[in-house]
């Protein structure tokens, strides 16, 4: 599976540079919405990779190679998780540095960043099965859903942050639990949809 993740990394490297710039810009803007938007937005990177795969007909080549359906599907999830984690780490570091050099800036909020990561994972869990079922081209409607979920997710986190931030009770353990359950359902569903291509 590391081969597939490396391939996706090479494929969207140029986009990654622009994305890192976006994280930098969003992290510099005060308010939870922009910093969390950058993290949640990272969950969209696997769709870019999938779109490039479809354009180059990579799936036909991959079907000839020793990759299982599970590897091909899971690599997109792992790529999304790694992108989200990298965006969260970058956001945390940038906000910390900004708070140190710019006295007026707010420092990073770990609960908000963790919540953003959970929302990003849930968005992946909802949208990736649709991508594997219909393909990126046909799943244009899903793209609207993704954009809506990204904006709504970032907005909801920002509202939670403005109302005093997530507490360390229910609001902290529920999102990771939901993300884990959704992932446990989403991955096998995606594998099943991907496997239908062999019929």
């Amino acid at each position: 599976m590391s081969a597939l993740i490396l391939k996706d990394y090479y494929v969207i490297f140029r986009q990654m540079r622009i994305f890192l710039l976006l994280v930098l810009v969003f992290s510099c803007i005060p308010g939870a919405f922009y910093s969390t938007f950058a993290v949640v937005y990272a969950s969209m990177l696997p769709y870019t990779a999938l779109a490039y795969d479809e354009r180059s007909h990579w799936d036909q080549m991959a079907a000839m190679m020793p990759y299982s359906d599970r590897d091909l599907v899971l690599s997109k999830y792992v790529f999304g998780w790694l992108s989200t984690a990298a965006a969260a780490a970058a956001s945390f570091v940038l906000q910390t540095v900004l708070a140190a050099v710019w006295p007026g800036a707010e420092g990073p909020s770990v609960p908000v960043i963790l919540l953003s990561v959970c929302v990003a994972v849930c968005i992946l869990d909802i949208t990736l099965p649709m991508m594997f079922r219909f393909g990126v081209e046909k799943a244009r409607l899903a793209m609207f859903l993704i954009i809506f979920l990204v904006c709504a997710g970032a907005g909801a986190i920002s509202v939670i942050d403005q109302s005093g931030g997530p507490d360390f009770g229910f609001q902290m353990w529920a999102p990771p639990a939901v993300a884990v359950v959704m992932t446990a359902v989403s991955v096998p569903l995606s594998v099943r949809f991907y496997g239908r291509r062999r019929r």
Partner: protein
């Protein structure tokens, strides 16, 4: 042992069906898969690589059923070149090598590097900027660099200039010098198959019309050029297919053993046999 065994394979799509296909490629041999566009060559290759599931029948490659989970590890032993090289567009040859090194356990970086040098492929140029010939050469380099025992080549020489094509055919020939190395190659360039193959399999509209040893095929058939009356006088079954020769007579593909002694017969090429058989099948 057979490198490839397809047994009564049927696969139906809307508007096309591969029907009751049985094909065997013995280990250590080269089999050429011939047929018109849409005859079912690429579908056959996808079936035997497990990329498609047959509606009925079985596909066994290197002794393992292509539908079984164990087939995944058998793919390590199979180098595949498809009719187009479908690598991601933004990758360069070095990046493709890095990805493949993590894909195949027996990836040989020095062999890959030597192929890049031999084919004069640029290491850092993006794949999207490659010519078709360069793309095919990169796919061939990848297929040869993980110590495969079987090469499955779908129009692998298409788009290559004659010099490179000749070189690539020589590489394929070298590959089969190992006793257990085999090749299944589909091509429209019949002269390539004549140079390379031990067996010729001919697909027409989803049906296998013949699968024979090339030398036996060329011995079995002959080309006769004469008058229509002469052709009509031959016994039933002697003429496999016929066409006007452009001078008022006919040119026929005939079965040598059914021809009367003393008639002037030409030795056919694989191209003659295949083209005549296609015409014969269309007339039927």
């Amino acid at each position: 042992m057979n490198a490839i065994e397809l047994s009564h394979v049927t696969k139906r799509f809307p508007g096309f069906a591969l029907q009751d296909l049985s094909l065997t490629v013995p280990s250590g041999t080269i089999c050429g898969l011939v047929g018109e566009n849409g005859a079912g060559k690429s579908t056959t290759i996808r079936l035997l690589m497990g990329a498609l599931r047959p509606d009925s029948g079985s596909c066994t490659v290197l002794g393992t059923d292509a539908a079984s989970p164990e087939f995944l590890s058998v793919k390590e032993d199979i180098g595949v070149v498809l009719d187009e090289a479908y690598f991601p567009e933004s990758l360069n040859a070095l990046q493709v090598g890095s990805v493949m090194a993590r894909t195949y356990r027996r990836w040989d970086s020095s062999q890959y590097q030597s192929c890049l040098t031999r084919f004069a492929l640029p290491e850092k140029k993006q794949f999207k900027d490659f010519s078709r010939g360069m793309k095919m050469k990169l796919a061939i380099a990848v297929a040869l660099s993980h110590s495969p025992r079987l090469l499955v080549l779908d129009e692998a020489t298409a788009g290559l200039d004659p010099f490179v094509r000749d070189e690539v055919l020589e590489i394929f020939n070298e590959f089969t010098r190992e006793e257990d190395h085999s090749i299944l190659i589909s091509s429209h360039i019949l002269s390539d198959l004549e140079k390379l193959c031990d067996y010729i399999a001919f697909l027409h509209k989803g049906r296998l019309l013949l699968c024979e040893e090339k030398d036996r095929l060329l011995e079995e058939y002959a080309v006769f050029t004469g008058t229509a009356d002469q052709a009509d006088s031959l016994q039933d079954g002697a003429v496999a297919a016929r066409e006007p020769n452009g001078y008022g007579g006919v040119r026929c593909l005939v079965r040598r053993e059914l021809m009367p002694a003393g008639w002037d017969l030409e030795k056919p090429t694989v191209e003659d046999v295949v083209l005549f058989l296609v015409k014969g099948a269309k007339e039927q």
